[in-house]
């Protein structure tokens, strides 16, 4: 049946075809049934703030489809993008686990479906199903790894082209599967961030991002068509990145 905006809503976790490929959702059937009974499913347009840094934690969001930007505010009041969360991740975990305010603002980057579970229900869910706690521990381990990588990249004080190349390479790890893709070395990616947001990621200005991307295009390393970007020369980008 055709759906509004071509958005396919996953209503039933037990019937979700993606769950085996997702870090959190690949749970035993019993736990999935419980998840189904405690979650509230909603679809959010691009730009929705799911939670705000400093806000008392109300619960977690399981990102079913779409992507979201996690950002925090530096001591100087500047916005720093911590990472981009992909479908299958649980957002608001640390705050919910430690009963502290949310430590990052989460904003959807595209129309997204998220399942909300309230703070108390989630903690009860974890206590009742150790397999869920294990998944949460795995996700937190992954998040810690990402945070340490980001810390290392801050310490490197590398150049802006290097940082942008690094971003492109990390996005290239989740390529788009485009029909009729001719050359195997071309990697298509979907970029829904604005140049201003990329600047927040790379710690530079929007103008510099624009200039660096133009340079990449001029060199034949990158092609941009709307939200679809194609990495044309991955080895060149890799060479630019020192770590």
């Amino acid at each position: 049946m055709p759906t509004a905006y071509n958005f396919h809503i996953i209503q039933d976790c037990l019937k979700c075809t993606f769950r085996e490929h997702r870090l959190f959702c690949d749970l035993p059937r019993e736990a999935l049934s419980k998840l189904q009974s405690i979650k509230a499913t909603s679809v959010y347009p691009k730009g929705t703030l799911l939670c705000l840094e400093g806000q008392a934690a109300r619960g977690v969001y399981i990102l079913c489809t779409g992507r979201a930007k996690l950002s925090t505010t530096s001591s100087e009041g500047k916005s720093i993008i911590l990472r981009i969360a992909e479908a299958g991740e649980v957002l608001g975990l640390t705050a919910t686990m430690s009963k502290t305010p949310y430590e990052a603002t989460v904003e959807t980057l595209e129309p997204s479906q998220a399942n909300f579970i309230s703070h108390l229900e989630f903690l009860r869910f974890l206590e009742e199903y150790p397999a869920v706690s294990m998944k949460v521990a795995q996700q937190l381990t992954h998040n810690c790894k990402c945070a340490y990588n980001e810390i290392r990249s801050i310490g490197l004080s590398n150049s802006v082209p290097e940082r942008i190349a690094k971003l492109l390479l990390s996005w290239a790890e989740h390529p788009l599967d485009l029909p009729g893709k001719k050359k195997s070395q071309e990697i298509a990616i979907r970029v829904t961030l604005t140049q201003g947001e990329i600047a927040q990621f790379a710690g530079t200005s929007r103008e510099t991002v624009s200039r660096v991307l133009s340079e990449f295009k001029k060199k034949g390393w990158l092609r941009i068509k709307g939200a679809t970007w194609v990495v044309l020369n991955k080895p060149a980008l890799e060479q630019l990145v020192t770590t």
């Binding site: 001591s75 686990m97 150790p130 706690s133 801050i154």
Partner: protein
């Protein structure tokens, strides 16, 4: 949170028999100032629970340590690496004489496998690590600047 609280949380709900088994493996050690409890890039063989004293945690950046800050009693080190079976991201060095409780990796993982309810406490400990890392990013996030904005010629 003290080291006793950490152990209490971690082992909460474990059968007495297993708790006693783990206690046999635990080793309380006093180490002098300057001891490297954990070294970046290595695989820790023990879970390290800081009982007293203070340590400095750091990450290696281009071969040089970048300090993440000072940690005190109750912090647990090596957990992330033991769980993910990957080399540790952080180094931990004693800033003074410290008392630590060491739990061998194998004994800990065995206990975890047999008692998955321990994962809840593990997740809480990992949340603390993540909050510390995010705190560092908040304090030291990249500042916009114009230095180094062009592609080096040699790499063209």
């Amino acid at each position: 949170m003290t080291s006793s609280d950490v152990i209490k949380d971690l082992y909460a709900g474990l059968p007495d028999k297993l708790r006693q088994e783990l206690a046999v493996h635990e080793q309380a050690v006093t180490v002098p100032e300057g001891t490297a409890l954990l070294q970046c890039g290595t695989y820790p063989q023990q879970l390290i629970i800081l009982h007293s004293g203070s340590v400095e945690t750091s990450v290696l950046v281009a071969g040089k340590p970048l300090s993440l800050g000072v940690a005190g009693a109750g912090r647990v080190f090596g957990l992330q690496s033991i769980l993910a079976k990957t080399p540790t991201d952080t180094s931990v060095t004693c800033l003074e004489e410290c008392q630590v409780i060491l739990v061998p990796k194998k004994a800990f993982l065995d206990a975890l496998r047999r008692n998955p309810q321990m994962y809840l406490a593990v997740a809480k400990l990992l949340s603390v690590d993540l909050q510390k890392a995010h705190g560092f990013l908040r304090r030291n996030g990249r500042r916009p600047g114009r230095r180094g904005t062009s592609i080096p010629r040699s790499r063209k």
